[in-house]
Amino acid sequence: MSDTHELDELLQRATAPHMHFDPAAAIATGRRVRRRRRIATAAGALAAVTAVGIAVTAAVPGSARVLPAGPSRSSAVSPKPTGSASPSATERCFPSDNERGTPWASGTATGSQRGGKVIVEASVRDNCGNDVVGVGGMGGDAQVTVMFKAAPTTAQWVVADAAVLFLPAGERPCGYSFGTELPAATTLPQGNGWNLVIQPVPSDLLRTAAETGTVDICRDGSPVKRGLKQIGWDGPGTRAAANRGVGQDAAQGSGTATTGCDLDNLVGVTLPGAVQWVDETLTVPRAGRLTVDVQLHPGCTGDGHTSSWDPKQGARLEVDLPTVPARAFWDAVWVNDRLTGVFFLPAGEDLCGVDLSPSQPDPTPELEAPQRFSQKDGWTVMVQPLPVVGSPMTPTASFCTGQAVTTTRVAPSS
């Protein structure tokens, strides 16, 4: 027998220590990852629901009279995550893994805040604890995803980029609380007998519409429902709660991403105000694509999560937090061959240095130029390629203001 075959045989015969693999754990983790991706997809770029003017032309014919505004559900919160402009669009459940939902209604119309089309897809998802609305961006278009916990039996609507209404045949909107002169709406008959109405909303009315908007519904010229509230208004995750939750309890956070949320515990649960805080994709020089995805889930507790999946599709840093942290934090991911630090800096703070080898007298290396992204709430996301050192390392970072070092030896979150 040749040496090669002998080696083969030796390797076959070598007695490995007892090792354990649990398929159930792999399945549970896989489901969690799927959920996380799904939530991220549904969340989309909520930040786009902001001021991009569109022409104000005609209102819904013969209607659009002003109704008394509903009780103010908004509250000023600071800092406010980027994606919170439309709280109604931030209420999401965490559907279990075994359904994609049954398509229920869909349609496309012009009049997005982004300048393009509004694309609406609605489905029924049995395992959702609540109705869910998400808005995502696709170029100049807005993708509005609505997931009903059960097929609607009465008119439903929500303001998410545009006002999106689901109306039984014969019903139509006949007055919005947030404005009288609105652009022309598009009515799209559905195969199930319902109508999908997409009503563009001028950018200056959008926040009010999203936060407090109501609509009157008429049939044959007579109101059948006055002041219809939006999807999710009075549910467990009300928009008022969402607004109150985000940012209010910032001090509760430890300042690290490890005080995040364990999504495994959130199946079927609707948390108020789960919002996309950071959603940036960039190219790390000589490495590849990196997506930084941070979501806030006020009220939940548990571990944060960081992962990098499938290098061919680019690295991905995912972080879940209960709220906007009180202090700077960071994490590191491999973007192909490059170790890359992602630093989250509150207003006025900066990265002072990265300590790659605490045992060295002068461990702070020369760093390449970082890329920075400013958040509307004053935070900055800084993506910094880090040098690779030959020995095992536990890098730490120091943060400072213009005057003084504020925090030293902050370890990565994961």
Binding site: T4, T15, M19, F21, P23, G30, V33, N98, E99
Partner: protein, 180 residues
């Protein structure tokens, strides 16, 4: 997707995972030299397989699992800087060795550079053809040949320090079967 269908897919995946795990665990252990890390590697690879199960189930889930295992090993190695755990690295040529000393082979294997170790394990434990190993690792067949040759030469030198150095049949053979 209905619950029933998802349950069926999950059961199918679990069955695959249970049958593939023992040899994947051992391959991972041979590559990384540490049982806990091997468990982590296999767990991570299997999660990735699970995420693509509906597409992989009709194809080659095992090949994908191997690829994930190797990629994750490299990523993990880069991230932690952790070298393979070797309790007692033998001094090359310091004592007479017996080909039957399997523990010794495993320890020696752990002294190889990462890429060479991966190639040797995939070729000589998993029994994969060179072309398959090249595809798994994203390298050329030539690189597989040279890595295998170098790795085996090092092992041979360590195990049989008196053997003629240019006895070069180590990497000449390709065995099929014994798949991880």
């Amino acid at each position: 997707m209905g619950r029933q269908r998802q349950r069926e897919l999950d059961e199918e995946f679990a069955e695959f995972a249970r049958s593939a795990a023992p040899r994947l665990l051992k391959a991972a252990w041979l590559i990384c030299g540490d049982a806990h890390q091997a468990e982590d590697l296999v767990q991570s690879a299997m999660v990735k397989v699970y995420l693509r199960w509906s597409r992989l189930r009709e194809g080659s889930p095992l090949a994908y699992a191997r690829r994930c295992l190797l990629t994750t090993h490299i990523d993990s190695h880069r991230r932690t800087g952790r070298e393979t755990a070797v309790a007692d690295t033998p001094e090359v040529g310091s004592w007479d060795r017996n080909w039957d000393d399997t523990d010794e082979v495993v320890r020696l294997l752990a002294t190889l550079p990462t890429r060479e170790r991966q190639v040797v394990v995939m070729r000589h434990y998993a029994g994969l053809p060179e072309a398959h190993v090249a595809e798994l690792l994203g390298i050329s067949v030539g690189t597989v040949k040279s890595s295998a040759s170098r790795g085996l030469a090092r092992l041979r030198q360590a195990l049989h320090p008196t053997l003629d150095a240019h006895e070069d049949e180590w990497s000449a053979e390709v065995r099929e079967g014994n798949h991880v």
